[in-house]
């Protein structure tokens, strides 16, 4: 089997990539996509730990199912908010949204 460390490294990389994207992208849709990457990294973690450290324990899989559910709900809501924004202005660049400052 692939050593656990490799998988954890992969998920950490995926998570870092997502975090980097979420912090540096200025397009709201891309930010949502980056957040999805982070959540997928979490799922990889859960499944890997569950498989390697405690085979037969369904807990990791249960977590993964819940994370997927919440991720779906989160994306749906996020896209709805972005849609509302795009109806009011042409651009969904988050830097151009700054009526609230002080």
């Amino acid at each position: 089997m692939i050593p656990l460390g490799y998988i954890l490294g992969f998920s950490a990389l995926l998570f870092g990539l997502g975090l980097y994207g979420a912090l540096t992208r200025r397009n709201a849709i891309r930010m949502v996509m980056s957040i999805e990457l982070m959540l997928n990294a979490v799922n990889v973690n859960f499944l890997a730990f569950s498989r390697y450290l405690n085979p037969g324990d369904p807990r990791g899989s249960i977590w993964a199912i819940f994370v997927m559910t919440v991720a779906a709900a989160e994306v749906a809501l996020g896209l709805a908010i972005i849609l509302m924004l795009s109806r009011r202005q042409d651009d969904i660049d988050v830097d151009k949204v700054h009526s609230l400052q002080g």
């Binding site: 979420a22 973690n45 994370v67 919440v70 989160e74 908010i81 509302m84 949204v97 002080g102």
Partner: protein, 515 residues
């Protein structure tokens, strides 16, 4: 295995009422009594809570926990939800908000909060947190025709989603280290771990998990959303975020630290102590410069999160009890402030601090109440805020966190300055002089610039046509009863908590044991 639905009764009732509101609202016509139906939800949940209180224990494969801690926070949640709906009743009439969805989402957020408080399993805490967060993202953006509202929702959503992913990553690491996500099991697994300080994976996990909760309660490196969201959200939702969301997140926070990570106390205690100090100081310093009332309350709420956090840093049964007491008082003083704010905003059509000018003459009841709520927020007797802060202070000094207690007092004095700024506007500044309409006993009216302009032009013309003067836009509604009721309830409880704290002390003392 007990599969009875009974322990879940309050949450179930709340869900049923949320669905009832949603379905009742389905027709396009104006439904009478929608708000009352929504208000019945938390009341029914409170009744259910009374029944559940007799059945402490753990249910459903340890997913659900009924103990005095969860009962305390459920009570807080339902009371908060009820008061927020009370505040909304007037607000939704005046804003382009879809009432049915608004109430449904508030109730569902309430369900999320109470789920968060009543489980010792991280999975349930996470699901509750997300139910609460997703509902509040939508609620913040509920005024679809207002850019500020949508912008606030977008910011809250993006930052919230990132931090919840970080929280999840932390949880997954904890799961890897301990092989479980049930908090007492995590604690016993960590108790066996030798080198807590040197375990990099554990440090990362703890920091990530703290970040997730720290965002919800707006601790300083993760506070950026607070002022923007507080300002842009519909005002009742601002109140909901300030009291409900914060209390529920603290419930999860306390449960996590006290039940799950007591073995790692050497990791998180210094970190949180630093964060608490920075949070209070930053919140208070920045609040000094604000001109918008909601934004000021946003910074004030950051500072308050710092005070509340000291209770967690000190980490004794006494200090946790003090935290709970403060959260209880915080609920009522904040709801009170926002009720007064909504009332003034209805009158003046402005949420700036300047709108409070001359409130002492126009509406002495609201002005005096607001002043009392502010006293409570600063921590001056005879209010609940004073008792809470005194208790926190006492607990900190007792366990040799004197420096933290001193920082807290200094910060309270700073906070006096900006609250006093509003109080000065209310009594010491004259009524708005120039604005027509406002001069006539504060009847500056709701979005009628044309009418205002026509009446204010030449005074001669106005006096020559008296019937025109009568056609000044009258208040769309008299001062709302619901807001008054909310203010009275909050006022009574803030004073009760300040003057007669003994039974409450005993109650939070029991709840803080997390038994």
């Amino acid at each position: 295995m007990a599969t009875s639905l009974l322990p879940l009764l309050p949450q179930l009732l709340l869900v049923l009422f949320a669905l009832a509101v949603l379905l009742y609202d389905l027709g396009n016509e104006d439904r009478p009594g929608l708000g009352s139906l929504a208000m019945l939800g938390p009341l029914a949940a409170l009744l259910g809570l009374g029944i559940v209180a007799g059945h402490p224990g753990e249910y459903w494969g340890r997913m659900l926990k009924v103990d005095s801690f969860s009962l305390f926070f459920q009570l807080l949640t339902y009371a908060g939800t009820f008061l927020v709906i009370l505040l909304s009743r007037d607000y939704v009439e005046r804003q382009p908000i879809h009432r049915g969805e608004f109430y449904t989402l508030i109730l569902l957020a309430g369900v999320g909060m109470s789920v968060m408080a009543s489980s010792a399993e991280l999975l349930m805490i996470y699901v509750g947190l997300e139910l609460m967060s997703l509902s509040s993202y939508a609620l913040v953006g509920m005024i679809k025709r207002q850019d500020q509202s949508i912008e606030a929702a977008l910011k809250y959503y993006l930052m919230g989603a990132v931090t919840s992913a970080i929280l999840l990553f932390g949880i997954s690491l904890l799961f890897g280290i301990t092989g479980t996500t049930y908090l007492p099991d995590i604690a016993s697994a960590l108790a066996l771990t030798k080198d807590i300080q040197g375990n990099l994976l554990l440090i990362a996990a703890v920091v990530f998990v703290l970040a997730g909760f720290g965002f919800k309660v707006s601790l300083v490196p993760l506070h950026m959303w607070t002022p923007d969201v507080y300002q842009g959200a519909p005002t009742p939702i601002t109140a909901f975020l300030a009291v409900g969301s914060k209390a529920a997140a603290f419930a999860g926070f306390i449960r996590l630290l006290a039940t799950g990570l007591p073995a790692a106390v050497s990791l998180w205690q210094p970190l949180l102590a630093l964060v608490a100090v920075v949070t209070m100081t930053y919140g208070n310093m920045t609040a000094l410069a604000q001109t918008n009332m909601k934004r000021m309350m946003g910074y004030s709420s950051i500072a308050q999160a710092g005070y509340i956090l000291t209770g967690l840093v000190v980490f004794t049964p006494d200090s946790l009890a003090a935290t709970l007491y403060y959260l209880l008082a915080y609920l009522f003083m904040n709801i009170g402030v926002f009720a007064c704010l909504i009332w003034v905003a209805n009158q003046q059509e402005s949420e700036e601090i300047a709108a409070f000018r001359g409130l002492g003459q126009r509406a002495p009841f609201y002005a005096v109440s607001l002043a009392i709520f502010f006293l409570s927020l600063v921590g001056i007797p005879p209010t609940g805020g004073f008792m809470g802060k005194f208790y926190l202070f006492f607990a900190a000094v007792q366990s040799h966190y004197v420096w933290l207690a001193v920082v807290m007092v200094i910060n309270s004095v700073i906070s006096l300055a900006y609250y006093y700024g509003v109080v000065r506007q209310m009594w010491l500044e004259p009524c708005l002089p120039a604005a027509p309409g406002a001069a006539a006993g504060g009847t500056s009216r709701w979005s009628m610039p044309a009418a205002r302009a026509s009446t204010s032009t030449p005074p001669a013309a106005a006096s020559s046509t008296p019937e025109k003067a009568q056609s000044w836009p009258e208040p769309t509604k008299p001062a709302s009863l619901a807001l008054g009721v909310a203010v009275v309830i909050s006022l009574l409880l803030v004073l009760l908590l300040g003057l007669y704290p003994q039974p409450f002390f005993e109650w939070v003392g029991k709840a803080a044991l997390l038994g």
